[in-house]
Symmetry: C3
Subunit: 464 residues, 3 copies
């Protein structure tokens, strides 16, 4: 009895499946390169045990609680947002009672992987096994091999990127580095708090940025200099990339004078939404310019309507599973930036989307032409077997494999890292196997590609 089948996610046709098995066999043990995610540096600087199964699995994972919420279970019942969980076993039972809701979702695949591979559990989670699970996980979490640094090693991680505000001291990253531990935990420069005027506390952030850098961040040149300084600081702690989570893909290329005036406008009381959008647009182009200068790879993650559920946001704050994708226009949006810097081969911009219609219509044609562009893997709701399949089917024929950058786990849940990479490796093996079975590719080429998709392209694109 097992939660995981050795052939899971491979195409059912026996001929194709046997090719997939061979390809997967070559990549399954390769190290994990994780260039984008939301784990905490403090886990590795402090190396303390996780408290209990709820703190480990349920509380940090908005994939889990959004589904439960959609079926009428309140966030209070799940103790979401509480600093201290009062009744973890009760929450765990509620989760177990409803585990069937995840049938057909990637969450189910990720969790079963962690349950079996990390905890040796092989009976399905349900009301009747809830306590058995709780006790088994709880017991193991106390052991040394379940401390974050041990997990990092067991998972065969080569490098793990976090995502950090320019205002972050990166003290935890320094502490990791100073500890002498061999793991490679690196920050990513995510400037949304100080480049997106809609970000709560934007003006306060600009002030803090001035304090941190000694620049006059109320002036446009001082502000830009301060950002450059912080980028250098991130680089000094290992950062190789930036990340930009704007609501749209809009870019702009204003004159120095117009940009200066716009900056003054967004700092003033009477900034409009149009000012804010134009400022975000201009800042993407500024960031591209800085990337050409300092070599940081640029990731653009547009198209999420954040905090769609106003009442939930008022009560619980952001990241409560209520961000919803919207349609995104890359062709017109990116034009200003690309007209300025699109032909720079020293620049790498990795594009992500929540709007799958752009794969074949916009993103693959753009990345199949502009030297600076690469396509990030399927993101968020689309980081799933069917989502990965659609990405490969819709992007590969125009962009090829070599304009893509391997996998991102993008996770907040440490134990899901190997699970997510395993899903990606299996899906890539299956996709390549189909190309081989249909004689669109030879098997030796598929072998080379399988390794590129797993470790080669990501190392190169992210300069890792």
């Amino acid at each position: 009895m097992a939660l995981l089948h050795e052939d899971r996610l491979f195409p059912p046709d026996e001929g194709t499946r046997s090719i997939a098995r061979r390809l997967y066999g070559q990549i399954r043990r390769l190290p994990i390169v994780s260039p984008h995610g939301h784990t905490q540096a403090s886990w590795f600087s402090r190396n303390e045990p996780f408290a209990d199964p709820v703190a480990l699995f349920v509380q940090p994972d908005h994939y889990i609680f959004r589904m439960l919420y959609s079926q009428g279970i309140s966030l209070d019942q799940l103790e979401i947002g509480k600093a201290q969980i009062v009744a973890p076993r009760k929450v765990w039972r509620l989760f177990a009672d409803n585990y069937y809701l995840f049938r057909g979702t990637p969450t189910r695949l990720w969790l079963d992987y962690a349950f079996q591979e990390s905890f040796g559990l092989t009976k399905r989670l349900s009301s009747s096994t809830a306590d058995e699970y709780y006790d088994a996980i709880k017991a193991k979490l106390a052991r040394p091999e379940f401390l974050p640094r041990s997990l990092y090693k067991q998972f065969n991680i080569e490098v793990l990127s976090t995502t950090d505000s320019p205002l972050d001291s990166l003290d935890e990253h320094k502490a990791v580095r100073d500890s002498g531990w061999k793991g490679r935990i690196i920050p990513t420069f995510r400037p949304d708090p100080v480049v997106d005027p809609s970000f709560p506390g934007f003006r306060k952030g600009i002030e803090t940025l001035g304090v941190l850098t000694g620049e006059d961040t109320t002036s446009w040149p001082g502000y830009l200099q301060a950002l450059e300084t912080r980028r250098q600081f991130f680089k000094s702690l290992g950062a190789t990339a930036t990340d930009h989570g704007h609501p749209t893909a809009q870019t702009a290329d204003l004159s120095e004078r117009d940009a200066d005036a716009l900056f003054a406008a967004v700092l003033s009381e009477d900034a409009t939404e149009a000012h804010r959008e134009l400022f975000r647009a201009q800042m993407l182009t500024e960031m591209a310019r800085m990337s050409i200068e300092d070599g940081l790879v640029m990731q653009i993650h547009p198209g999420s309507v954040r905090n769609h559920n106003a009442k939930l946001f008022e009560r619980y704050g952001p990241d409560m599973g209520a961000d919803i994708p919207r349609s995104t226009d890359y062709v017109n949006g990116l034009r200003s930036l690309l007209n300025r810097f699109g032909n720079e081969s020293k620049l790498t911009i990795i594009l992500f989307t929540l709007d799958e219609t752009t794969y074949s219509r916009e993103l693959a044609p753009l990345a199949g032409h502009y030297p600076c562009l690469r396509l990030g893997p399927p993101w968020w709701f689309h980081d799933s077997p069917e989502g990965m399949q659609r990405f490969r089917e819709q992007a590969t024929e125009t962009a090829g494999f070599y304009n893509t950058v391997g996998f991102n786990d993008d996770t907040r849940a440490l134990l899901s890292i190997p699970a997510r990479h395993d899903v990606a490796r299996r899906m890539d093996a299956g996709f390549l196997a189909k190309l081989v079975a249909e004689h669109r590719l030879d098997e030796d080429e598929a072998e080379e590609l399988a390794e590129e998709l797993t470790v080669g392209l990501v190392r190169k694109a992210y300069k890792l």
Copy 2:
């Protein structure tokens, strides 16, 4: 020789197919729960025979005559829109001559099912079998087992919903109920004629609404009260749901005062299209409020550009196969309604779409979060094998199965009901079989889900 193969619509891979067969075997004989459609209560109150094959199959089915029309056959040749068909055999022959046009379409699957299962026909319809078909069908229609109530029973229907105007007397529903017959035919409250100011005869309808309810429907409070009264009347005859066919998914949440003024505006001579759109938007939110109060489930069917062919509309009126989908924005559109009522677990809103791009981008993320939302099955042009496949592939990973509501046949053609449910059951069995074959789900789970998708979820969502 047969029109139907026992394994039709199952995946071709033998391993997967055998799982699909087992799953389908469990659900094929389950009762038909039909919560949404366009059959006539009068068929069951009067229980009269259908006149001839053309009246049964061709005349009511815009899927059929739109295809014939697209290939140059006029509606006059088909006697569409005539009260009495003059030369039914001639029309039937024309249809048979062109039956090959339906290759690869669901219409072909539905018709072949009816031909074989209801009439025992097993040779393909064509010019050479046209008369044989005509005579065989015509002869059977006269028999008692082809009366509507017999068909209801043979088809193993548990409940059948019609779609009705608030101005409808529902006399035929009353007659069914009073007849002592055991069939369950229930109305659905579809208020478009009195909540959509673009509806032909809108203002006259508002007047009639006042007469029917004794309310002063020229005042906003009286109008709302009249709608509530009619909803109660529909409930008294078994209704469990409302249905809303707006051109967009726009909602609004105006103040009492603004809503009152808007209502006056749309009743006036100088209402603009903007007034009308805002009024429809406001009325969706009003309907949600009423649903919380009276428990009727709300169905939203947006995104059809009605009567795209102006000349055809002028000559033949609506529902002539010339309604065309357009892109639909649910994320911004539904925001006002959801900000007001999105967290109400007493409310159920079932969303449909004609814009498949919204499955993975908008609808699954919305339904996978908001407790009040559920996803309706593929609708209209997408109620087809490939359409169903795309729906499951694109919605399941984010919304799960349990935020969906089973199948709607949505038909005007009585004989297509079992055919359409059979297609849905086969496609669901095939989809689940693939998940099992790929070890993404265990077979016992697939069995449970197959039953949920067939009868469980629909009964629950529609309160049947």
Copy 3:
């Protein structure tokens, strides 16, 4: 050892594959009907050998150099845009070194086909086989059987359409015709240079049009008459179709007076982008009117943002691989034209798209209703195995097969013609085989359809 496998592109499941093999066997040797493309009539009038492998394969093919460019290889290195290639062997080696970039793309399939079928090459192109390839191809190009007319014959081409400006003298077409050679090379009337005011040299073109026809093309009636005259001239040299490459699908139906004023506006210095867009829109409707009169079939190819890369355009001009698709609205866009002429069965309009989301949402519903509409095959970036698969899956259930028009190779590369038709035939055979394997179609019907999709529908739709 071979580059091509006999079963390439067929579905891997053995049962389905064997049906695909049978269907393909029936159509593989049928003649090539090529109603739309960008080959040169001068190749056939002059019948001169191609210079070298680079001039044959690399230089004319923006699919090839856009991919190389996206990976940092400059157009200068590839000698793109040069009248005379200075170092063809060096360019060929660079191409061969990077041939692996095309893995998973249709370019790879097309090239391998030409390499093996036309040149007998069976080892994969790479750095190590670059010179072997170069020498083998170079040697064969000098032989008589590699002259354009011989290739036309070997490829079993029945008819080949070029695409031509109304200002073109068509002298090369006349020369082909006068030569006594039996090949059928026909022009297509592509009026963009004189109906799109954004086209470089638009006003100059209008003048030339006047000179060519003796009409006063500064007046609206004279301009229309001149276009009608040129259409007749194209017809006299065999043209059966027009082609329209507008940025959007917008159409208009202005009064005579408004159209006249608009024409004056677009000829003036102060025409706005709104004037230009409205003029293009009006001209589609005018062209439809002329098509009803003269019988030319109308092709509409909207939705490409031309010359997205401003710097590349400044330096190298158009068609450098930097055209990017954008989302396109057919439902509202085509409305004016369809309201005027949509019910004319004498009119044939073939619609193409670069926005795949419109297949199931807009194009199939439109073509499945309007008698004048047909769907063109997958275009440009989507003329690929996965693209063809998506087209059939998303269009067939609503439009059927008979509202489609077979395949277009749309190529600038003579040797890719049989390769592209072969891909289309294999993909159609595979798609039909799946319908047969799933018992959605009988095999005799699939056989009939395979022939229709290969030669029947294209001859009929394009009047060839």
